[in-house]
Symmetry: C2
């Protein structure tokens, strides 16, 4: 399993919030019922989203949550990172995004003299595939998909020649 239910539930929560439209705050209880998810668990998940700045909360009666940005500006790679932490193909894989070089520290390979294990190439390619898919998907895409069923390939910003599949409901 690549992602945990935290990611799944968190994304669905955001989709639900996005569909609400941004008027009054939406109570978590309402989301839990609509999405059929355990409320107590959602509380912990939404806390992650709040700390990461995707939602803001108002407490007390009639309180709830609202998105802080427009859905088009919420990229899934950020969301998933907030919910599940950095995604790594393997435990030995370190996503050193700062330097754009992904480190692979072989757990059982102490002597660094001999070049890196061949798996580094594989994990790096896979990692790239996942990250690209996440970066190219925004919350707005998911909302449109849930509404319409078919999603055109998003709002530009995508490098030419890089194709994501069109999916039908």
């Amino acid at each position: 399993m690549i992602f945990t239910t935290k990611a799944e539930y968190g994304v669905r929560l955001l989709v639900d919030l996005g569909q609400a439209g941004g008027g009054d705050p939406v109570a978590l209880k309402a989301i839990a019922e609509r999405e059929n998810l355990p409320l107590a668990y959602l509380e912990r998940i939404v806390a992650l989203l709040r700390k990461a700045g995707f939602v803001e909360s108002t407490r007390g009666a009639r309180g709830g949550y609202l998105l802080t940005r427009r859905p088009e500006d919420i990229r899934m790679d950020e969301v998933i990172a907030a919910l599940d932490g950095p995604i790594a193909p393997m435990s030995c894989f370190i996503d050193d995004s700062a330097t754009e070089a992904h480190k692979v520290v072989c757990s059982h390979h102490v002597d660094d003299e001999t070049g890196p294990c061949g798996t580094k190439l594989l994990w790096t390619r896979v990692h790239g595939g996942v990250v690209r898919a996440l970066q190219q998907t925004t919350l707005a895409d998911l909302i449109a998909f849930e509404r319409g069923g078919v999603v055109a390939l998003g709002a530009g910003r995508r490098p030419a020649g890089d194709v994501l599949p069109v999916i039908t409901a």
Copy 2:
């Protein structure tokens, strides 16, 4: 974590076998020492590779393992499937490759009337990214990478416009 150590160790085992060149059978003990991996665990892993037809074994003294195909003909998506089983972004994701339609069965969503959750789009894209990266990488690529450090983008068969990153050791 996307992959388990089974996948990691299994791939490294294949790389090691590929580098051996296919003369005499290679004993697992030798591989375990070279790659610095636990022998007992490797035994269980190589069994998966044997059942899947990637290696053949000869028993008894001076026995060991050999690749059954040329490294260029061993695609990583097949290998990983044999080692880790089908890769799924989420527990609710079913890789129905036969029909080319990936089913997403929301665990908490019993009523199928309302369209699929928006996460289906996301998981499908991610799944596609992973599968493509695996399909486009052969054992030969990994061997070349481990030897040379830089890998040109493989032996064709790759759709135009789809780019994998070049990685340096």
